[in-house]
């Protein structure tokens, strides 16, 4: 009896083992911090002299603490920003619905909503990549891999600039008063 139950449990475990491995692989996103930073190093093709390398090795753990704070602040700012961006897009949709209800053409809002949604999508992707790089920089053993750490920093700086650029682009696109003036004109027609 005991043997039967034992063999049944073993059989069940063997059947479910591959499923468990598949789930774990999906969580790990098919790549790990070291290989992502190695890729960044291969792409940047940087070489460090011994003095720079020694400087990074001695100071990088302190830098990782600062990076952790940067990551926390970025997460907080991103959540707040996404909320504001979405609320603006929702309000634009509401304007359109209200105008359509009273028979006014509000197609300008479609154009603006499309542009803003595109920027939000790009922003989400950019900020996600930036967050991943920051996580990698925090997770890596920087004293053993100073080149990868430096390459990751260069990558993070570029990604930070891209995120900043998209945030500015959203602001500039929304501040286009011409669309709102056009909408007001449509109301009086």
């Amino acid at each position: 009896m005991f043997l039967k139950i034992l063999s049944l449990v073993i059989l069940l475990e063997l059947l479910l083992w591959p499923a468990n491995i598949l789930a774990e692989n999906a969580t790990n996103n098919a790549s790990d911090p070291t290989s992502r930073l190695q890729l960044a190093l291969d792409n940047s093709k940087i070489t460090l002299d011994d003095t720079t390398k020694a400087n990074i090795v001695s100071k990088c753990q302190g830098a990782q603490i600062v990076l952790r704070n940067v990551q926390l602040e970025t997460d907080k700012a991103t959540r707040r920003r996404t909320g504001v961006y979405n609320s603006i897009i929702i309000d634009l949709q509401a304007i359109k619905l209200r105008m359509n209800r009273q028979g006014s053409d509000a197609s300008e809002t479609d154009l603006l909503t499309g542009k803003l949604q595109e920027i939000v999508d790009q922003f989400t992707i950019a900020v996600d990549s930036y967050g991943t790089t920051l996580s990698d920089l925090i997770a890596i053993d920087c004293t053993a891999q100073p080149e990868q750490f430096e390459a990751g920093l260069i990558l993070a700086r570029g990604q930070n600039l891209a995120v900043l650029g998209l945030a500015t682009k959203f602001k500039q696109t929304t501040n286009n008063n011409l669309i709102f003036e056009q909408l007001k004109r449509r109301l009086t027609l």
Binding site: L16, A63, V66, A77, A94, Q102, K184
Partner: protein, 106 residues
Amino acid sequence: MRIIHKIKEYQSSPIFAVTMASLIALAMIGLTTAIFFKSSAYATVKQIQAGAKYDPELGGSIDTTSPIKATDIDWFAKSFKNRLQSLDDQHDFATGSLSDQSLGLQ
């Protein structure tokens, strides 16, 4: 001999079969739940829940029916500007925060 006979009798009873099937089903449910909690799908669900909790607009009521006037559009345009002005791009994504100096690498 009598005990073995009793065990065999017990094994062939429907109660035993149902109990075993239930135990296997419970084990599988437990394992599937554990895999789900470890998966990225669960992390995504948590993220969406957190986002919905953060954004009051998603839960609140939005006026989509009342008539709209030119002054309302002016108000929206001003509101958009104010909401965006509350976001400090240079502070949130300051390029200097990743400089060697800020990170203490100099």
